[in-house]
Symmetry: C2
Subunit: 331 residues, 2 copies
């Protein structure tokens, strides 16, 4: 039992059949490079196109910690890849390929089919290929590593300058709001709750926004720990501070319908599961994304300061000190 | 709890301090490429040297499945990286860098210190850098992805030809033998048992052998599932068969001292935890590694056949059909 064999004879073949990607052979060469060898040997082998940097990110979802036992496998397939692609988006990279380390308590063909469907539905959207993996027996744990490429300089957390604008994509707090009624029966959901729940289950990595921000944004991060915490990471790495105007933080109609404003704001400032982007932009670059601002795709929420720290700014312009640990700690 | 936050505030910093690699900044550029950005941003960013292919392998070790609860963290640090480097070795690649997805039930500073020591002791041997990772709370699970590079063609599983010799590195079965007394108190071990136990705990990835085999071997694999199973993988992917002469399979003095010959042979044919290499070689290439054969570093154990299947060949030349599933199933 304590040897190298993770699953019984024949189980591997069974498992692998769910991860043979439909149509994968069609597009193994792209401007990003060539996938020379995928699943089936000791390593995957790729050739990164000349002049392109390779970006990698690894993330784990654990049952009972990052998702409830019994979560639909289709949701897990999507989510486990989405949270990784989101890291590529935050650096402005083009998604390319990924590996999957899947730890399963048992071979469950229904689970495998549904999981792989959710996974490949999102992979297909970005033309991503599964190039390798490992399947082991144990408590349900999903670890993926994504690879992306980039011809220019990556967006990092460390380039924010005093006076830069702080912007976020989409609306914030939706997924955190959904966590509040995750245990209610789905049939009892109203439309707003359905919307919020889907925002939690099927986050949309902001790849196109990240790509567009190359050469414009001075710093970027995906909001996985909450706006305050992740903006805090940018500030720390950039050696700056920032203020946020809570009144400007974009809230969806659904969260406003479901929660008192103060609760909605707490979700928006502390909730990370939306996987939106937070980025900083010199004011003179704002015109390059003016159409997005007008459409509400990105929203101006604050400004970088030379003095370290995080502040909340009320409509009268008063600043109140806050903490990356949370919105309410200082109320 | 079911949000994105895997560990309490401050725990990340605590955990990360154990994974700041001593002296890592010193050698971020090499003939393999440049590590432009390591731990601390959304992705790691690397630049693969022109003309080099990138090789990747991901593997998971789960507590209670791949190792006993209570296994020394130093052993786990070494082993979790070794099993991955072994995949690079099997393809003839030069080890380069790795990522670590660590799922821990609690923040245990003793565990983290010892684990990182075992990990970096092996990493240092191959000049490997930890470039990124994820730390989550949950049942103890260690997932690593290694990256290596290669200027020429990788060794694969699929190039074996009828008439090729089958060779293995080192001695086989030692780690599998160690599993038989893993629960005995260490103080009661004799020297042979100590030796076998160390073979299980601290496998030595055969990187130098893999590198030397580039352009010589027609196929290679690391023995993680056992010689029969892994040679079976080569045969399947190459569309060939093979025979093995059990009498020629290299056994250590320790395994011979500890186990009856038949048990030792079973360990050698079915045990994978030694992480030795199995490779195939056209007979006219044997002279290139003649010194290794003479030193016993590699041993000739069989031959590739055109007819699919696996056979055991006794000293009189009689072939007996066997199975990649195991040595004894056909006895």
């Amino acid at each position: 039992m304590f040897g190298s064999s993770p699953a019984g004879p024949g189980e591997f073949e069974l498992i692998e059949q769910y991860f043979r990607q439909p149509g994968a052979a069609a597009a193994l060469e792209s401007e990003q490079g060539a996938i020379l060898l995928g699943i089936g040997d000791d390593c995957a082998v790729v050739d990164v196109a000349a002049g392109r940097k390779l970006l990698m990110s690894i993330d784990t979802l654990v049952e009972g910690v990052h998702f409830l036992p019994g979560t639909e496998p289709d949701v897990l397939g999507w989510r486990s890849l989405a949270v990784n692609i989101s890291d590529l988006a935050a650096m402005g990279a083009d998604p390319w390929c990924f590996t999957l380390a899947l730890t399963l308590p048992r071979t469950d063909t229904h689970w495998l089919r549904e999981y792989s469907q959710g996974l490949f539905r999102l992979a297909k959207r970005f033309g991503m290929h599964l190039i390798g993996g490992d399947t082991t027996r144990g408590p349900l744990t999903l670890t993926l590593q994504v690879q992306g490429t980039l011809a220019g300089a990556p967006l990092t957390r460390s380039g924010a300058k005093p006076g830069d604008l702080v912007l976020v994509s989409g609306t914030l707090g939706d997924a955190a709001a959904a966590l509040r009624f995750l245990d209610l029966p789905r049939e009892a959901y109203n439309d707003a709750q359905q919307y919020l729940r889907r925002r939690y289950e099927y986050p949309e990595p902001r790849v196109a926004i990240g790509q567009k921000l190359r050469g414009l944004a001075t710093a970027a991060i995906d909001i996985s720990d909450g706006l305050l915490a992740d903006l805090g990471h940018i500030c720390e790495r950039s050696g700056v501070g920032a203020w946020i105007a809570p009144a400007q933080v974009p809230l969806s109609a659904a969260i406003r319908a479901e929660l008192p404003r103060d609760d909605a704001l707490q979700c928006a400032l502390e909730g990370g599961d939306d996987y939106e982007l937070c980025f900083t932009l010199p004011p003179d670059k704002l015109r390059h994304i003016q159409n997005w601002v007008e459409e509400g795709l990105v929203t101006l929420v604050g400004e970088i300061t030379s003095e370290p720290g995080l502040w909340l700014r009320d409509p009268s312009g008063q600043l109140q000190v806050t903490s990356s640990r949370g919105y309410r700690h200082f109320e």
